[in-house]
Symmetry: C2
Subunit: 226 residues, 2 copies
């Protein structure tokens, strides 16, 4: 979901940056997108890659995509150094224990470092706080994203048993035409599985739209349109 | 969801039978429906009711609805004895440890005992096996429901943190016009909260539709249209 929600929402994404995601699963999912020409991954820990290649080859298969450039380095530092407007999509696959929480996403300096390397109408995709949490601050995060990235911003969710009952995301675009994340304009070519062994097990266009339907209690947390 | 999915899907439901659900939460949700004239509950254990009334009054508040008739007795035995076509909606709030699993729902005799007391175009709503299970047999359940209740049948899901990551349902109608469960024709009157203290925290019309959107892997389990 962290991959297809942004990549299906904008036309012809060519350059993708993945920060984290060393297991290769997101690379595998990006590989299904025919428009993508370049996939750069910044992973801190080589061991993550090695372990997944040895024990979870069906996930690490993402590394077999010839468009992938692997960098064992700090993605956050790279974001600050990369030329302006380089990427169409930046996927942050980093969770609470790694630092990129919703609090981090509401950090002005961090968001500026993500906005700068994004192409106009480029999109950022990142995990966000769960709506089941007591200290749910996503309204602030969304407001900050809108202000700094200067485009559309939405809150989305899905379900994944291995993490918790639900997983939430924030999606933001930069300056330019508005992006309607809820209605994918660049649907997956289901005949092309990239390096994956078959079509996506979870994602489909209906599930894409569903990710933006929130329960009443989650909607009511704030007045901002998530 | 076990309440609103059936009650919003058919016009003017008047008589509702609840089997199980002694905590009162489903009664509270039924109480929001203005068309309902009679709510019969069959709960096996008086202690469930007493404990909820003492410790969870915001859930047990459902018993304050004057349309509720409480019966401490076996709901399954009652189903076999009640006159044909009595109810518009039958809600089975019984989970695995209580006997009404998907296996139970696929039992011909049990389904016949639910079909008989239902009014033509009446609807049954019940929990069903999770699509995350290895031994997912819902395709068989749905097929059996269609054959015995002779109406529409759909598989739905939602998320609820206190039970597990997801919760699944089966919805079936009896003979008569088809029921399109995905598109509620009898939306909740949001100005009427019945005996509840406010509007539903979770349910809304968007969430209703979302309940029928399945991931690709769940859809692929069988050829039947869930």
């Amino acid at each position: 979901m962290l991959t297809h929600l942004p990549l299906c929402s904008i036309p012809n994404p060519k350059k993708v940056l993945l920060v984290g995601g060393g297991d290769g699963g997101i690379l595998r999912e990006i590989s299904r997108h025919t428009f993508v020409e370049q996939i750069d991954i910044y992973e801190l820990d080589q061991m993550v890659i090695d372990v997944y290649k040895q024990f979870f080859p069906e996930i690490a298969i993402g590394y077999e995509d010839l468009r992938v450039n692997v960098n064992i380095n700090q993605g956050v530092a790279f974001l600050k150094a990369v030329p302006e407007g380089t990427y169409d999509v930046i996927i942050l696959d980093a969770f609470e224990c790694m630092g990129a929480t919703a609090i981090e996403l509401a950090n002005k300096e961090f968001l500026e470092s993500v906005a700068r390397p994004l192409h106009p109408r480029g999109v950022m995709s990142a995990p966000a706080d769960s709506f089941w949490l007591d200290n749910f601050i996503v309204e602030d995060t969304i407001a900050e994203c809108r202000q700094i990235l200067k485009g559309s911003a939405r809150y989305a969710w899905s379900t994944i048993p291995s993490f918790s009952w639900t997983i939430e995301f924030v999606l933001c675009s930069t300056v330019g035409l508005a992006v309607d994340f809820e209605k994918p304009i660049n649907p997956l070519d289901t005949k092309n599985n990239g390096v994956a062994k078959g079509p996506p097990k979870f994602y489909n266009s209906q599930i894409h739209t569903t990710a933006f339907c929130l329960s009443s209690f989650a909607k009511k947390v704030g007045s901002a349109k998530f």
